[in-house]
């Protein structure tokens, strides 16, 4: 059974909405820069923050001042709103829709501020206690719109949103629902900025994915959601499908908690599974949006995996767009799915920013020219997480 995309929405350092995202991608305007909102002693580390304060996000989302909510949930609401509008949600309400969301940080932004109060008799911030959960974040997003009949929350670190897409698509394929919305949301927190910092994988300069001098990633934040729908439902609701989620694959590297295997075994498996599911040959893929974090380990491992899957001499155009959005961690899978869909719809190759030096162990260079040599029909996007949770999604023109 085919699974169609009938709507998508995005918020990231590139701004709110598909239009802002497309504009920034086309003009090579990076969202990576100095921190504005997160309070940390590591403010010298460039990040890709969503360019709105939490208060501004609250206003934009139309959430009442006294309602307990998190930045993660607010970004999710804004991305979801765009996706639902595109899918004509309110005009033709789907029957029993599902929301699957990926997050890891959840309400950590508040927990890290108030934890000492939580564990003391002080009760002044106790209203944030139950907002800590990842699952509550999904509830906050869903209940802002209402009408969702089932919710679930995924957490496979940086592939969370991609795995949310898989669960949602499988819900449709098994006939459990005809419309499932999926994606992920993650805001920056001191917890994970410091966590990544202890691993010494944050670059103090803007990240340089697939460059020989790359020295780490820049953290980002954001949210993106896709409305997935069966053909029958899209027809019945009078919604024009945008593209197909034609294939997906999930595999585990099973190598190390934070490092990728040297030859990218898990990545090879997830890409092959996705191709198999889509019924496509490697040669049919016109663009790969790589996980491409910019760490020495990931880009070498993923690069080798791409050569293994596509053949060293026939790797399609590849870019990492983390030079634009930073690494949006749990949201990366859906943020980069939206970017891949924009590439597919507008027939361009998103540039791999900050590339200048070839990695000698790789047979290919990342995209530096947006103009594709052939029209895009099938695009692939990779999302890899700590713990070796590797996921690949393929989107295809209808």
């Amino acid at each position: 059974m085919k699974v169609y995309v009938t709507g998508f929405g995005i918020i990231s350092a590139l701004g709110l909405g598909a239009g802002a995202t497309l504009g920034a991608l086309s003009n090579r305007q990076s969202g990576v820069g100095p921190l504005h909102w997160l309070e940390t002693m590591h403010s010298h580390l460039p990040c890709a923050e969503v360019p709105f304060s939490t208060q501004e996000l609250r206003k934009m989302a139309g959430v009442a001042q006294d309602k307990v909510i998190t930045r993660t949930a607010l970004m999710g609401i804004l991305a979801l709103r765009e996706a639902l509008e595109m899918a004509l949600w309110n005009e033709h309400k789907p029957l029993n829709p599902v929301l699957v969301s990926g997050t890891t940080v959840g309400g950590m932004e508040n927990t890290e501020r108030f934890f000492l109060d939580f564990i003391s008799p002080d009760t002044s911030h106790d209203h944030y206690i139950l907002a800590h959960d990842c699952g509550v974040c999904t509830q906050m997003i869903a209940d802002h719109f209402g009408h969702f009949d089932m919710l679930s929350t995924l957490s496979t670190a940086c592939s969370s949103a991609a795995n949310a897409l898989i669960l949602a698509a499988d819900m449709i394929r098994t006939g459990r629902t005809s419309v499932a919305v999926a994606g992920g949301s993650e805001c920056l927190s001191r917890f994970h900025l410091n966590g990544f910092n202890t691993l010494k994988i944050l670059d103090k300069d803007p990240c340089r994915p697939f460059d020989n001098t790359r020295a780490g990633l820049n953290l980002g934040e954001g949210a993106a959601y896709l409305v997935l729908e069966s053909e029958e439902s899209a027809k019945a609701r009078g919604v024009k499908p945008i593209c197909l989620l034609s294939g997906y694959g999930n595999a585990c590297d099973a190598y190390h908690q934070t490092a990728s295997s040297p030859e990218g075994d898990g990545a090879v498996l997830s890409m092959k599974k996705a191709l198999h599911e889509a019924g496509l040959t490697p040669q049919q893929i016109d663009y790969v949006n790589a996980h491409g974090t910019g760490t020495p380990n990931n880009d070498e491992s993923e690069g080798k995996a791409l050569m293994r899957v596509f053949g060293a001499d026939s790797v399609p155009p590849v870019s990492s767009t983390k030079g634009f959005t930073g690494h949006t961690t749990s949201a990366a899978g859906s943020v980069e799915s939206v970017i891949s869909i924009l590439a597919l719809l507008h027939n361009f190759l998103p540039a791999n920013l900050n590339y200048s030096n070839h990695m000698e162990m790789l047979s290919f260079k990342p995209v530096t020219d947006e103009k594709p040599s052939r029209p895009l029909s099938h695009v692939m996007t990779n999302s890899f997480g700590f713990g070796g949770n590797d996921t690949t999604c393929i989107f295809s023109k209808i």
């Binding site: 890891t104 139950l130 679930s152 929350t153 957490s155 910092n197 999930n250 934070t258 700590f386 949770n389």
Partner: protein
């Protein structure tokens, strides 16, 4: 298509990795009780064991137990549900961050703080490259994992799946949740339950999983409709399905305690101590509902 529970194992406030609880349940008169640890030396070497938090050791021990008893050493999927994940290591990193600041933090606690640490540790331990996922949806986290597995079977992608429900409860988190009245006077505890599922019954199947359903904000009518739909699809009627008394008084409350309900029902079903068709209903704080339909093999 059939999905069979070939093996199940638990670590809890009852004696670990056995079903002593069935005849001689340990009774607790306390609000909060941590699990009785198993002997981990048979599963992990001491160096690996020292590096792991309790939740990881329990996950490995229960997983290895079902791997051994089913003989399925390389499952086609590893899927974990956990409400709160690796709380012990998360708290260690968080406390260091808020008490000592951002200068001298240690990576190990961060590395082991993500929710998917559990499923990925199991994968590394089994050297298993298969489908791997982690669900963190409140009190139905385990059922989310189970639903994913069930659908993978339905779609013909897998023939076996290692599915677990894992939660640990550190003293501070018991306290924090107690402050907001979360425990409602019930026994707050920990959960480690692993199941080996297969599309073949094997030699000693415990039970057959017929359907898994999750609902959000379901009122009585929506719940009835959902149950009746499944009954119809399975060519049964509502009264064929019995909901047994909860085993939460025995195993305690945690975000994944529905895994204990399925475990206990499967153990009893295998021994003929319970009806042949069981419907397990979990209603979490009035917002999330899960249904698990089990039948005797």
């Amino acid at each position: 298509m059939g999905v069979y529970i070939q093996a199940a194992a638990q670590i809890s406030v009852q004696n670990p990795l056995c079903d002593d609880w069935l005849d001689n349940p340990i009774q607790y008169q306390v609000p909060y009780q941590r699990a009785i640890e198993a002997d981990y030396r048979q599963f992990l070497d001491p160096v690996a064991s020292r590096r792991m938090g309790r939740i990881l050791k329990r996950a490995i021990a229960t997983s290895m137990t079902v791997v051994t008893s089913s003989g399925i050493t390389n499952p086609d999927a590893i899927i974990v549900g956990t409400g709160l994940g690796c709380l012990e290591t998360t708290e260690r990193f968080l406390l260091a961050l808020v008490q000592e600041g951002e200068e001298f933090l240690q990576p190990t606690n961060f590395i082991n703080s993500t929710h998917n640490t559990i499923a990925s540790h199991i994968a590394v331990h089994l050297k298993c490259n298969a489908y791997n996922s982690t669900y963190v949806h409140l009190g139905v986290s385990f059922e989310s994992a189970l639903l994913d597995a069930f659908m993978q079977f339905q779609l013909g992608r897998i023939h076996s799946a290692l599915v677990g429900g894992h939660d640990e409860l550190i003293p501070n988190y018991f306290y924090i949740l107690d402050k907001v009245g979360f425990w409602e006077g019930k026994l707050a505890s920990e959960c480690a339950v692993s199941f080996m599922l297969s599309d073949k019954p094997g030699n000693h199947p415990m039970a057959r999983i017929r359907e898994v359903v999750l609902l959000h904000d379901a009122d009585e009518k929506r719940l009835d409709d959902a149950i009746n739909q499944v009954c119809e699809r399975l060519s049964t009627v509502r009264k064929d399905w019995i909901s047994p008394p909860s085993v939460r008084p025995i195993f305690g409350e945690s975000f994944t305690s529905q895994a204990f309900e399925m475990y206990a029902a499967a153990v009893k079903m295998q021994r003929g101590l319970i009806a042949d068709n069981i419907l397990l209903i979990n209603q979490y704080r009035g917002t999330e509902t899960s249904l698990i339909f089990l039948s005797k093999c």
